[in-house]
């Protein structure tokens, strides 16, 4: 692994993780949303480095684009101007944080051990055999994953119906 790669990934790590941290700690939701966009874009870059161009594109268009717009829309709709109030269950949050960090530690150890024992974790990996990424994805998607592909449309239908029915305003006391 050359220095450039290291530098590249070092920078990428920073632009990925720092916004992710900011998502969690930013006091205003709108800031969190913006940081999330940054993280999502970072993830898209990661996808690119893994030769998943199609996914990277989807990530940018669907996620950073559509989903985050929806988020921002709702944030502006609700417009929670003041920040969050005092935490009524602060001690519990601390317990949660401790648990989360221990989880991180354990998962990290397990993943590293897993990588070490994996027969396929050679670096650098062989170049992908699937050729053109989009074509390959499409081929798999419409053969092997045909059924999920169809069924996920039902999921989207459910989401649409649900979202409309639930966000309709209705006079109280009806």
């Amino acid at each position: 692994m050359d220095l450039g790669t290291i530098l590249f990934f070092g920078v990428l790590t920073i632009i990925l993780i720092v916004p992710a941290i900011m998502v969690v700690i930013a006091s205003k939701p709108v800031h969190s949303a913006m940081y999330l966009v940054a993280t999502l874009l970072g993830v898209a870059v990661l996808y690119l480095t893994l030769s998943a161009e199609f996914l990277a594109a989807v990530q940018v268009i669907l996620y950073a684009g559509a989903v985050m717009v929806l988020f921002l829309f709702v944030i502006t709709l609700l417009n929670p101007t003041e920040g969050e109030g005092p935490d009524p269950i602060r001690s519990q949050a601390l317990v949660g944080a401790a648990l989360a960090f221990s989880l991180l530690g354990m998962i990290a150890i397990l993943l590293l051990a897993g990588v070490l024992r994996s027969p396929f974790a050679d670096y650098p990996p062989r170049p992908p055999t699937w050729g053109d990424n989009i074509q390959a994805v499409g081929a798999v998607l419409f053969t092997q994953y045909l059924l999920p592909f169809e069924i996920i449309s039902i999921l989207l239908l459910v989401a649409i119906v649900g979202a409309t029915v639930i966000s309709q305003s209705r006079p109280k006391g009806e």
Binding site: V67, L70, V158
Partner: protein, 101 residues
């Protein structure tokens, strides 16, 4: 340019944990929700990394499905949050605890 597998996995674990932390620490359901998106993305990173190193494209397809699921969830989740806001004019999750015991 590609990093070793462990790098992707550590990034993914970190993102995942940050997502978990967000759910635990924040009171605003919108931010909690964003944190959950972080968790799903972490899984996506792991999938794609494995996919690349296993030299199998189906991992990417699965991530595609996960993205779709996440989108559907966002739609519904935001609708629910909006509905609550309509009823209560407040969406702080700690203020919404009439159900307990």
């Amino acid at each position: 340019m590609i990093a070793p597998l462990w790098y992707y996995l550590i990034i993914s674990a970190t993102l995942f944990t940050l997502g978990v932390l967000g759910v635990l620490l924040r009171k605003n359901p919108l931010v909690m929700f964003m944190s959950i998106e972080l968790m799903l993305n972490a899984a996506g990173v792991a999938f794609v990394a494995f996919s690349r190193y296993l030299n199998l494209v189906n991992g990417q397809v699965i991530v595609f499905f996960i993205l779709t699921i996440a989108a559907a969830e966002v739609v519904v989740g935001l609708a629910i949050i909006v509905a609550i806001y309509r009823t209560k004019a407040n969406i702080d999750v700690d203020e919404i605890n009439t159900l307990k015991g």
